[in-house]
Symmetry: D2
Subunit: 122 residues, 4 copies
Amino acid sequence: MMKSIDARIDAIALGSVTLSAPVGDGFRQQQGFGHAALTFALGDVAAGYAALSVIPPEFDVMTAEIKINLLAPAAGHLTATGRVLKPGKRLVVVSADVWSEGPDSARKHIAVLQGTMVPVPV
Amino acid sequence: MMKSIDARIDAIALGSVTLSAPVGDGFRQQQGFGHAALTFALGDVAAGYAALSVIPPEFDVMTAEIKINLLAPAAGHLTATGRVLKPGKRLVVVSADVWSEGPDSARKHIAVLQGTMVPVPV
Amino acid sequence: MMKSIDARIDAIALGSVTLSAPVGDGFRQQQGFGHAALTFALGDVAAGYAALSVIPPEFDVMTAEIKINLLAPAAGHLTATGRVLKPGKRLVVVSADVWSEGPDSARKHIAVLQGTMVPVPV
Amino acid sequence: MMKSIDARIDAIALGSVTLSAPVGDGFRQQQGFGHAALTFALGDVAAGYAALSVIPPEFDVMTAEIKINLLAPAAGHLTATGRVLKPGKRLVVVSADVWSEGPDSARKHIAVLQGTMVPVPV
């Protein structure tokens, strides 16, 4: 999925991960902006990586549920920061913020996500 | 986006639209199942099309917010039905259900979505 | 909580529970309709009871997360039906629908909820 | 509603409002902690007040949708801060954080909410 959306990892810290990706041609909606699903994908993956950073290495995570509120259209290049709000053995509560930037537009906060990741044995 | 995930429209009725798509190689997560973002994309698009079916033709819709609960891993072929729960001039409340099916597994209910679409002039 | 909002159980089945409650004077918002938190309370409790109906008796449930979309103002008497969408040992995914009725208004669908309950040992 | 849960306003700023309330006897769940609906109520009202602080005075707000993730049990005294993430004429996107404190327990982050308020003419 990371490859399909051409995403890369910009920063990893305990409980916080930042990813970025362009708005690729295959991920636009009918008006030419990035599709909600692309913004969702980047935010969800960032939140999942943030969860991975706080659980033991023999566990992977799966998204149990996540909600996105879209704040502005996605254009140019996207950046998402996922954060752990509450670590746990059974549930890891996470959030993510997504921004978009230029080429012709200022940096904008385009989405917020709030969800739950579940640790699963690898 | 519809093309990238190779989705097609299976059925359109007033307030209800069904789409389907394979779990393509570019949309898998680390365990080989369909990524949450693919399931989200199909459900979100089905819900948006359902909203389009109840608003005047000079309007398009944008996702304001949507939440997904994942029920089971996505494998094989996906089908999503979006439905309008409450039409409106300012907000259209929608839901979607996503199923997956075989080749080697029975039809499973893999996700539910609940969200809000906003009509915008074309 | 059930007492404070004067709620009663109308029906219990495996995976489905229906509750009802009046819009009490202490639970109105500024325009005189029932407050979103009252509608939330009834839907959340109905969903929690539905989850209880599918787990072993030595477990209680706690709400991990839940989302409400409000469809219409709450007036008169409220009814909520909670349902289990996916039972599980770690997570029980639930939904609820809330309706309101008269005295001077027809039965209306006023809210939908979608959430996750977590079984916890009593 | 504010009276029923004995809430008071602690701080108001442009786009941010803080409320507090005790966990009253009428708002407990089966284990004696504050009910999810009480935490929801305080967070929802704080988020709504925050939205009110950024819209013209001839408008009121209604909750269109809101989601809560519960992080820890509610005990003692609750404080909620609502914030505007994105103001708008049609939709105001909001979040809220809820904490609980003592008498015998340290300050804990017990819930996060993310939702949408809709301005309506008074």
